[in-house]
């Protein structure tokens, strides 16, 4: 009997892995109700087992609740049904590893600045303010281009009044609280001479292509 239960969970775990790793919709991630439909009512348990299994691979099952309403206690089945589930990296990337993802230092730093600024402004900031902030360290032609790219990838969104907000990808990938805390605590300057010199030298075309493929 125990063997049978184990077998059922193993097969559900496989199904969950397929659903979560392979994109089913225009955007990555799977809604709770879809998992419920495919795996049955005990899908939270299946995800728990999968998450535990992914630990050793430094990956995790990430839950993003609807409208950022993270429940204080154990989430209800209804809340889980409306939530979206993703597979994300559990730990941190080393600065050198960020190259593998196909982002330039400038672009990632710009993204960090834009996100931190929007968080500090209560989740909404005029685009021109973000442009001004990025323009202090990035060439003018790149500022607008980068913001448009952050919007395209789903990190930021913009409304008709040119106000910027955080979008679904930031909610899925970025630990907003940790980012702000780390930023406030940061004092010592971390230099990455080899990275920085490589960046200056370019190879942007190749990286752009890699980036398109990765995201």
């Amino acid at each position: 009997m125990r063997k049978k239960t184990k077998g059922v969970y193993a097969s559900k775990m496989k199904r969950a892995t397929h659903m979560l790793f392979y994109r089913r919709h225009q955007k990555p991630g799977v809604k709770g109700w879809e998992l419920h439909k495919a795996l049955g009512a005990d899908y939270p348990k299946v995800l728990e087992i999968l998450d535990d299994y992914l630990k050793s691979l430094d990956l995790q099952v990430k839950t993003v609740f609807e409208e950022e309403k993270t429940p204080s206690g154990k989430p209800s089945l209804e809340e889980l049904g409306k939530a979206r589930f993703y597979i994300t990296l559990r730990g941190e990337l080393a600065p050198k590893e960020s190259k593998m993802i196909g982002w330039r230092i400038d672009d990632l730093a710009g993204l960090a600045v834009a996100i931190a600024h929007i968080i500090s402004k209560k989740g909404q900031a005029p685009r021109k303010d973000v442009e001004k902030l990025l323009g202090e360290k990035l060439p003018g032609w790149k500022v607008g281009f980068n913001i448009d790219r952050y919007i395209r990838y789903g990190y930021l969104q913009q409304d008709d009044n040119d106000q910027l907000y955080l979008d679904w990808r930031t909610r899925a990938e970025v630990d907003e609280k940790a980012l702000i805390n780390l930023l406030l605590r940061s004092e010592a300057q971390t230099t990455l001479p080899s990275e920085a010199s490589n960046e200056e030298n370019g190879e942007e075309g190749v990286e752009e292509q890699e980036e398109e493929e990765n995201l």
């Binding site: 790793f21 392979y22 994109r23 225009q26 955007k27 990555p28 991630g29 990956l59 995790q60 990430k62 609807e66 993703y86 597979i87 994300t88 990296l89 559990r90 941190e92 990337l93 080393a94 600065p95 960020s98 230092i105 400038d106 990632l108 730093a109 993204l111 960090a112 600045v113 931190a116 600024h117 968080i119 500090s120 402004k121 209560k122 909404q124 005029p126 902030l133 202090e136 789903g154 009044n161 979008d167 679904w168 899925a172 990938e173 970025v174 630990d175 907003e176 609280k177 940790a178 980012l179 702000i180 780390l182 930023l183 406030l184 940061s186 300057q189 971390t190 230099t191 990455l192 990275e195």
Partner: protein, 275 residues
Amino acid sequence: MQAKKEQKRFGREKLQRIIEMCTAIENRTVDPFLLDVDNIIKVVKEYFPQWEEADEFNLDSEAIHHLASVIKLQSEWVKHCSTSLYTDPFLLEEKITQASKEEMLSVFLKAWHPLVELEQLSIHSLAEAMRYWDGLVPLKERWLDLDVQEVAMGTASRDELVQQRVLGDKFFSEELEGYWRELKEKVKEKGVGGKIFYWDFVGADTYEDTVERAFLTSFLITYGYATLEIHPLEEEIFIKPFDKPNTEILTQQSISIPIAVTYESWQKWKRGELY
């Protein structure tokens, strides 16, 4: 009498300034706490007994309305300050300005957990593709030369074109404006927050009518009569009419948003499963 008139004019100017200040705050260009609410209420109270005309009362109520919005913004700000995510924006801005790009990167990488996805062909999808290829009719068979009879060139009147259903019986612009009015009325009736679910507007009793409405809706958006509001995570699409056509849209670079109006989606909408 003259003095009273002068005082009224002065009061109206003050209310106008209050409204302008409140609007600037609502548009997030000014800090909501820069406004001394008690003082403003005092000013509004002071001039209120002098108002006699309808437009004066209108101005007074407008000022109060905007003031209420500012108080709401102040309350939201206080709520945000009490959350753990609150950080003094000036302190944070200072940190951001001082940090080098390497430092920003190092901090960001500690809080960033990028999504992981796979893209891979499977034997199943390859087999499926092969089956499709086998069943696909060659191009020369699919695109057979049409046997079109050559006819001499001639002229056709507008009435003839309408009769042959090449043109509608109304000018397109008239039809579009009528459709825009219909959208505004529907939003008033069924909409929330000045917008309505896309399918609740384009959906009609028959699939053919639905397609026609979706076609006209695309022109409403392209020509700046309305805009789309898309909530990607919830997979919801709203349509929002403008009060006046936004002609600036025509000069800007636009993007195309494909929305599938398939027979299946129409049936789903009819069953109430689609917005």
